[in-house]
């Protein structure tokens, strides 16, 4: 398939300019201007944005329909499946089972059954296609195990994705300690439980010479630690999901279990600190954390409900609020949604470059729409953003040169 996109606004991490683009079969042939074969189909973008398809830097479910509707062609899959992705055969299965709709790049479970005790076969998992190794939804409580994991993973040059919450301080907490949790009577953990985990893992990774990525960093204190470590030159990156820069703990009022996420929503000061860190480049990745949950997991008393929210389809629109608020540029946003996750996990794509995979999205950056949980493509509707008017819509998702989704 040869497609010639004309009259486009070409946007990626390093460019935002009008132009044309040609894809031949599964690759981008040229960007900007170039020779057009006579048999090319032409798509007139009408001035709309043409960007690399998003690379979601952390999902719990490879939910292809939701991803394609959200402009996501590649996902980095967390190992918290049932069973956990702790051996090579499971990695191979995870990569293959939603083909050809989206690219699935699994992370290997750091420890057997994610129990936090014995190292999993991460070398063989890498050979089977794992793009990194992750501790899962919780941190590894034992510092000795975490240290050995970081040492061992460094030999395979695998990035270690850590969950930044001190497990023993968190216990059974479902909220951030403070006035709000006290009033609600919810088991709560102090926000510094995150900074403690970040400080420990930074130190261990430095000693082990390992690459470290925190999937979600959500407090001012831990963002400061990462900012300082980056300034020192340490190989550390971090991410966040839109919930933590758009919502604070008040979203939980009325015991709304759709706003139960892990780590829990934070105070307003921390939410603002996350936005600062997105603006100054401390945060590298905005991921959806896509985690469809059935009614049985969510229609429960707050502390009994499972954490998690769906986010694939709303990732771009919710993240684009940062552009409208003039905190980041479109280039900066596409870096966090595509180029940076590609770099961290060693994936192809994420940029509009000749020779890159033909994974593209066409976006109407100004299109207003309202998030409607009942009409999402996702396998469940557990979003705290139901009913929110938003702006920026994916009109077309192309993966491997094929149009797989069109609004």
């Amino acid at each position: 398939m040869v497609i010639h996109f004309t009259n486009a606004r070409l946007v990626d991490a390093t460019r935002d300019a009008p132009g044309a683009l040609l894809i031949v079969d599964r690759q981008i042939a040229w960007v900007g201007a170039g020779e057009v074969p006579s048999h090319a189909c032409t798509v007139d973008c009408g001035g709309r944005m043409l960007a690399p398809a998003l690379i979601d830097g952390g999902v719990f479910s490879a939910d292809a329909p939701a991803c394609l509707a959200g402009g996501i062609a590649s996902v980095v899959l967390m190992p918290d499946g049932s069973p956990p992705l702790d051996e090579p055969a499971l990695i191979e299965f995870a990569r293959a089972h939603v083909k050809p709709h989206i690219w699935v790049h699994p992370l290997a479970a750091a420890t057997r059954a994610l129990a936090g005790a014995e190292l999993a076969e991460i070398g063989l998992c890498k050979a089977a296609g794992a793009v990194g190794v992750a501790t899962g939804r919780t941190a590894i409580a034992d510092a000795g195990v975490m240290f050995r994991l970081l040492q061992y993973a460094s030999a395979f040059d695998m990035v270690v994705v850590s969950h930044a919450e001190n497990a023993s301080l968190v216990g059974d907490a479902v909220a951030t300690e403070g006035e709000f949790a006290t009033r609600m009577g919810l088991p709560a953990a102090p926000a510094f439980a995150e900074a403690m985990a970040v400080a420990r893992d930074l130190r261990l990774a430095e000693a082990a010479g390992a690459r470290l990525h925190f999937r979600q960093v959500t407090t001012a204190e831990s963002l400061d630690l990462i900012r300082t470590a980056k300034a020192r030159g340490q190989r550390v990156t971090c991410g966040v999901t839109p919930a933590h820069f758009l919502l604070n703990e008040q979203a939980v009022s009325g015991y709304r279990t759709f706003a139960r996420v892990s780590p829990p929503l934070r105070h307003e000061d921390d939410r603002k600190a996350v936005i600062e860190a997105l603006a100054d480049g401390t945060i590298d990745v905005i991921a959806s954390g896509h985690d469809p949950r059935s009614q049985e997991d969510k229609r429960l008393p707050f502390a009994d409900a499972e954490p998690g929210m769906v986010g694939a389809e709303t990732l771009l629109a919710l993240s684009a609020t940062l552009v409208r608020d003039e905190r980041v540029s479109w280039c900066g946003l596409l870096a966090m949604l595509a180029a940076n996750p590609a770099r961290i996990f060693g994936l192809p794509g994420g940029r509009l470059d000749a020779g890159a995979p033909a994974d593209l999205i066409m976006v109407d950056a100004g299109a207003p729409w309202r998030i409607d949980a009942d009409r999402l493509q996702a396998t469940a509707g557990n979003t705290p953003f139901d009913g929110l008017p938003t702006q920026g819509r994916v009109l077309m998702t192309i993966k491997g040169g094929e149009v797989l989704w069109e609004l």
Binding site: T182, R183, M184, L186, A303
Partner: protein
């Protein structure tokens, strides 16, 4: 269901005295609504003390006490309150519930709802669970305790006890002592007593205090003697056994030494101090027997008595709309 216009509508300065369908927490009540509820409860005390303790206003109505967490005293209190008002009272305890068989809470709620109760009284170990059920059923729901969140009838009965003993709440200094962190009784009382004008203190070791209590208008003390200084009312909270042995405090012995209410400690309070406890008491852990049994100061048995009156008032008020009482 709409009631005919009343000849003399029970209005307080142009407002409905209790515009709530459910009673889920003190947090949703205004001070004048609390005062009005206490007045209503006041009226039931004499009935409870009479030889024939019966009033049939709830005859024909079904009251289900659904207790998903163990309780003896509160369940008994609600059962007696319902029966004295003439309701058909059915108790569902945690042992007999289908929750053990894997049924979800909402399925249980819908099952109960399908039996057309006129009033549901619910206790559950999770904060917010009672509100969750209230959103799914047709009848009024009364929260008999949800997790660490609220226990409104306990706070109301405490307030009634204080009001009768001290002829008012405004301006009193109330020290609430013990396991504040895990206590719904403390949370409901902070709000109720604070909104009625009392100065509220929380006294506990730091491991048993909740965070940011100052934002709730509560002054915190980790020194018991300082916390009791000049107090008009001392409210002791029960310390659960599993928290006594190293989890939150080192031992019952050490806890009693520093936070147990003794005669010597009471000397720091006002001479006419009122001692309260929501029960059941751990004698020798949070309270000394000599204090618990001091009938001039202890309001513990009166609290139990007021509990029935308060619950009768709540059941009466919450079912008025269903019963077609004029003005409701």
């Amino acid at each position: 269901m709409t009631a005919p216009p009343a000849a003399t509508p029970p209005h307080l300065s142009g407002h409905h005295p209790f515009p709530h369908h459910h009673l889920l927490g003190i947090g949703e009540l205004h001070p004048h609504e609390i005062a009005w509820l206490l007045d209503e409860a006041e009226g039931w005390i004499a009935v409870n003390r009479a030889r024939r303790k019966h009033d049939d206003r709830l005859a024909g109505l079904t009251l289900i006490n659904a207790f998903f967490e163990n309780s003896t005293r509160t369940l008994l209190s609600f059962e007696i309150a319902g029966k004295r008002l003439g309701a058909d009272v059915v108790n569902m305890g945690v042992g007999s519930s289908s929750v053990k068989k894997g049924e979800t809470l909402l399925d249980t709620a819908l099952t109960l709802n399908a039996m057309h109760p006129d009033m549901l009284v619910i206790r559950h170990a999770s904060s917010g669970a009672v509100q969750l059920i209230a959103e799914k059923v047709d009848c009024p729901v009364l929260n008999a305790g949800d997790g660490r969140h609220e226990h409104p009838t306990q706070a109301l009965l405490d307030a009634l006890t204080i009001r009768r003993r001290k002829s008012g709440i405004d301006g009193l200094t109330v020290a609430i002592c013990g396991d504040i962190l895990h206590s719904r009784v403390a949370r409901s009382n902070f709000q109720l007593l604070g909104s009625m004008g009392a100065k509220v203190r929380a006294v506990a070791p730091p491991t048993l205090l909740a965070s940011d209590l100052d934002r709730l208008g509560v002054e915190t003390f980790t020194d018991m003697d300082a916390g009791l200084d000049g107090a008009d009312v001392v409210m002791m909270l029960r310390l659960q056994r599993e928290r006594m042995s190293g989890g939150y405090v080192p031992s019952p012995r050490e806890y009693f030494h520093y936070y147990g209410l003794t005669r010597a400690r009471l000397a720091a309070c006002k001479p006419d101090v009122l001692v309260m406890h929501p029960g059941p008491m751990n004698r020798g852990v949070e309270i000394d027997s000599a204090v618990a049994d001091d009938i001039t100061r202890s309001g513990v048995t009166e609290q139990v008595e007021m509990g029935v009156a308060v619950r009768m008032a709540c059941l009466d008020v919450l079912t008025r709309s269903r019963r077609g009482v004029a003005g409701w």
